[in-house]
């Protein structure tokens, strides 16, 4: 079985390829935008000489590149997505690209859609957590966001992307598995999720406080993607992805300060964050957007309202956390410390 991994040159992508190889899959097409991002994949090819690792470069906005990407594959791990840039770019890189990819799958004559499985990497950002109470449990039954336009554009584009996949799945009948990771972290990733706080100039505003951080160490996340993506019972299912032992935002920040660097931080209680958001929002409205509404009450509630999480459904499928959270955090902080010294 030939497998396609889009976004294979990215932070998560290379780890998914590694886990696929570790699980014994031997025919993997790695699709990535730039050849310069293929270094890790080339190392993997050497580590697994029995496997056929095909490195395929192109742009998924291009119909012909998509045709090339999906040729002869029956299992697709779709990780490519827009992570930054303008709203138009995020939608183009996440939603348009997905539609182009799905259309390319439909155009194939040698493999029917019904014999194709697509594994979509979505996001926790698609959940409508604002309506939930503080401390409410977020699981796969939690309703999706009804007002994505009030959230950050990334979450908005990821929600639209996921909706698009379900629309196509309904029409074309392929197997769809959706994974919604929380905060993916690890070597190669960033130091802080917004759930911990925001850096403004030299000061870090610690806004997450005692909220649980739905951390997913990149190796554990990749393992979850491969386990769910290849499990026969996973068709048509959604899985939340996070590690078993979750620190609070405060614990993460404390560990970061102890292991990476001393940073100046100011902890704001949630009610202060809400008041600040309310003022910023009012000014943004009154000034017709002279300063961006970085924080609004809605965004604050989504990011720092405070929820609890469960990965029970994923564990029931057989996923196990490969790297324990303390070791994962230690490795991540070691990497971040090295980055700081550069």
């Amino acid at each position: 079985m030939k497998i396609l991994v889009t976004g294979a040159g990215g932070f998560l992508g290379a780890n998914v390829v590694e886990r696929l190889l570790a699980h014994g899959h031997t025919d993997v097409r790695c699709f990535l935008r730039e050849r310069s991002k293929a270094e890790r994949l080339e190392q993997l090819a050497q580590l697994y000489p029995a496997a056929h690792l095909e490195i395929c470069c192109g742009n998924l906005r291009s119909k012909s590149d998509c045709d090339r990407a999906v040729r002869d594959v029956s299992l697709i791990f779709h990780l490519a997505a827009g992570l930054k840039g303008s709203a138009a770019e995020l939608f183009a890189d996440s939603v348009l690209v997905s539609r182009t990819l799905l259309d390319a799958l439909k155009r194939r004559e040698n493999i029917s859609m019904r014999h194709t499985r697509v594994v979509l990497i979505s996001s926790f950002g698609v959940y409508g957590v604002v309506r939930l109470g503080r401390g409410a449990l977020v699981d796969e039954q939690t309703p999706l966001e009804l007002h994505p336009e009030l959230r950050d554009t990334y979450s908005h584009s990821k929600l639209r992307q996921e909706q698009l996949f379900w629309e196509y799945q309904q029409k074309d009948g392929f197997e769809l598995v959706v994974l919604r990771p929380g905060v993916i972290y690890g070597p190669g990733g960033g130091a802080f999720s917004n759930r911990v706080g925001l850096k403004v100039g030299p000061l870090f505003f610690h806004l997450g406080g005692s909220n649980l951080l739905p951390l997913s160490y990149v190796v554990n996340c990749a393992e979850a993607i491969v386990v769910a993506g290849t499990h026969s019972d996973a068709a048509g299912q959604v899985y939340n992805v996070h590690d078993n032992e979750l620190p609070t935002a405060a614990q993460y920040l404390r560990a970061y300060k102890a292991n990476v660097e001393r940073i100046r931080s100011l902890r704001l209680p949630y009610f202060v964050t809400r008041m600040l958001a309310s003022s910023l929002e009012a000014y943004h409205r009154r000034s017709q957007g002279q300063l961006p509404a970085i924080i609004t009450r809605y965004k604050a509630a989504a990011a720092w309202g405070g929820n609890t999480f469960t990965n029970a459904k994923l564990r029931a499928l057989g996923w196990q956390q490969l790297i324990p959270t303390p070791a994962a955090m230690a490795t991540t902080f070691q990497y971040l410390r090295g980055q700081g010294k550069k």
Partner: protein, 360 residues
Amino acid sequence: MGLKIAIVGCGKIADAHVEEIRKIPSVQLVAVCDLEPIMAEQLASRYAVPHWYSDVGGMLEAEKPQVLHITTPPESHLPLTAQAVAAGCHVFLEKPVALRHHDSQAIIQTVVTAQKKLAVNYWPNFEAPALELRRLYQTGVLGTPVHLESFYGYNLAGEYGTALKRDPNHWVLRMPGKLFQNVLDHVLNKITPFLDDDEPLIQAIAYCGDDAQDRSPSGQLLDELRVTLRGRQTSAYATFSSHARPVGHTLRVYGTNNTAHVDFASRSLVLERKQTFPSALGRLIPPFLVARDHLRQGLRNANRFRHARFHYFDGMRQLLGEFYLSIERDTPPPIAYSEILRVSAMMEKIFEQVYPEVFA
């Protein structure tokens, strides 16, 4: 209800159009359109625009807007303008006007024949310091312009630049004048109002300022441009730079009376006056006069900020306001068509030298 506005083209710049249109209370944005339904849908969703379309003809027929903003890549500007004026719309066009000068001429001709109005998004020229510069020129404070220097910096590592580098098929790179064609309007349209010649002598050189670019998927991209222009009595020097830091955006007008320096990035205008102080005082006092000008500009900007008139695209709001007013009152549009065509013709001449294989 005032003018009904619609937008075709829902890429990145369309956000700025929506935001500035919404600041003008007398008009209403009724619909947006993009060939890609997803792009039209996302723009409408984020800004609560009542309707979105993927067919411009359908939108024009159903919504009957009086003004169509065209924010698509430039190769589509001529057919879309023709379609818009045929549907009874005035046109607000995103730069560059067209890929080739003859298309720019055809666009203007189409609008004039249909007795409609057109403006191009030369928004920096409608920011407060640019308007002040125009006043200084018209009231004779500057005297006759002798020389101009227009500088435009570009950040290839920024949002726009990164998008280009990541996508070798980006519409900007598909234009015959490539990166320069997307920004040269802003470099030249500041010069043309002061240049005393419709067909100045032009010499242009371009090169790539980054060796590492050779390894990028898009290959080598010319990203530094120098242009000298010689009119009858006025000369000019235009610079486009992707590597100079900070990323600047300035215009310097050397007049026979005084010299003005406009910094578009910090929205300031400083007048360097003819020297009248004797001896050493002539060297001592001028820096204080310049400092006084900077202080005044800072205070004016603070006042604009206080009154919520200090947005990034404030010049666009001003330009749109003037354009819509010209439609309502049937007065000439804010930018003379002759200016638009002069810029277009100058760009063509520059590209003939920079990309002779394409523009020959």
